[in-house]
Symmetry: C3
Subunit: 127 residues, 3 copies
Amino acid sequence: MADPRVIPDPPFAWAEGAPYSQAVRVGDLVFTSGQGGFDADGELVEGIEAQLRLSLANLGASLEAAGASLATLVKITVYLADPAHLDVWRSVRADVLAPPFPATTAVSTALLFDGMLCEIDAVAVVG
Amino acid sequence: MADPRVIPDPPFAWAEGAPYSQAVRVGDLVFTSGQGGFDADGELVEGIEAQLRLSLANLGASLEAAGASLATLVKITVYLADPAHLDVWRSVRADVLAPPFPATTAVSTALLFDGMLCEIDAVAVVG
Amino acid sequence: MADPRVIPDPPFAWAEGAPYSQAVRVGDLVFTSGQGGFDADGELVEGIEAQLRLSLANLGASLEAAGASLATLVKITVYLADPAHLDVWRSVRADVLAPPFPATTAVSTALLFDGMLCEIDAVAVVG
């Protein structure tokens, strides 16, 4: 049987050859990896606002490679290293996302790279 | 192309105008936001048992607004602020949920509102 | 209306009668519970590498009972009790998973059983 999964080419040079996919499409749904504030060179940018904005931009690029976009989000899960950054998340979200808004879960966890302040993953729909 | 997402009216007065949806339906699946123990006035109730019960009730209301219910859960993810509350979760779950049971992930994380002891999100199926 | 969910028999003797399902299939998608490094007797094995390998094996067994497998993963979420275990996760993943790789989120959280070092859940596609 043909593999029903569609794995797009990675949208970031640093992600080529990575042992995970930035996004996987199955049917009309796209599931992404957790995206952080890594720039085109794979370096973390500084500060929570910049990392949140870049995480969303990287999420958008990953979705677009798979046929979805930030405008077709169904669900996002936001992991903040510091729970006190909730207000910054709200501010960035208000600036970047538009209705109809996705369902959202936001919690605070330790993250796995030094200096990483946030990670965001998503489910979106093609279209 | 018509937006394939169905965004129901928020089931809670305090959620009107919120920059996220309590639930989003796409096809036959419903994805919810993380629900906490917030009452009709948007205030947290006291204690882990009351918060867990109300989180599940709010999850149910969010699902019902989208055409699903606690009886059609596919997956729930439970975030507990205190890992020692696992036994309370088990007790409340046994009291509220019935078979066939959803797949479940339960972990302990910091939560983003003062006094919030649990957060639960879900994927369910319409019907 | 017939329940669209397919709940397979639990693949582990210790999971019989548990108040959650190891996996739930709906349409072509399978959602699993968080799997840990529990052996056939329901006992945790020792050490992060052994727990990661067994978590993936248990994830595979749960998926296979529902018609999917580790070869049809769409998304995995990895919860590590210790963020310093990222390198071990990478090593085990490289050894167990093969392309096309799933989308992946990995964070560090407290886990709910004494001695539990990792928990992994998944979305996969039937086939």
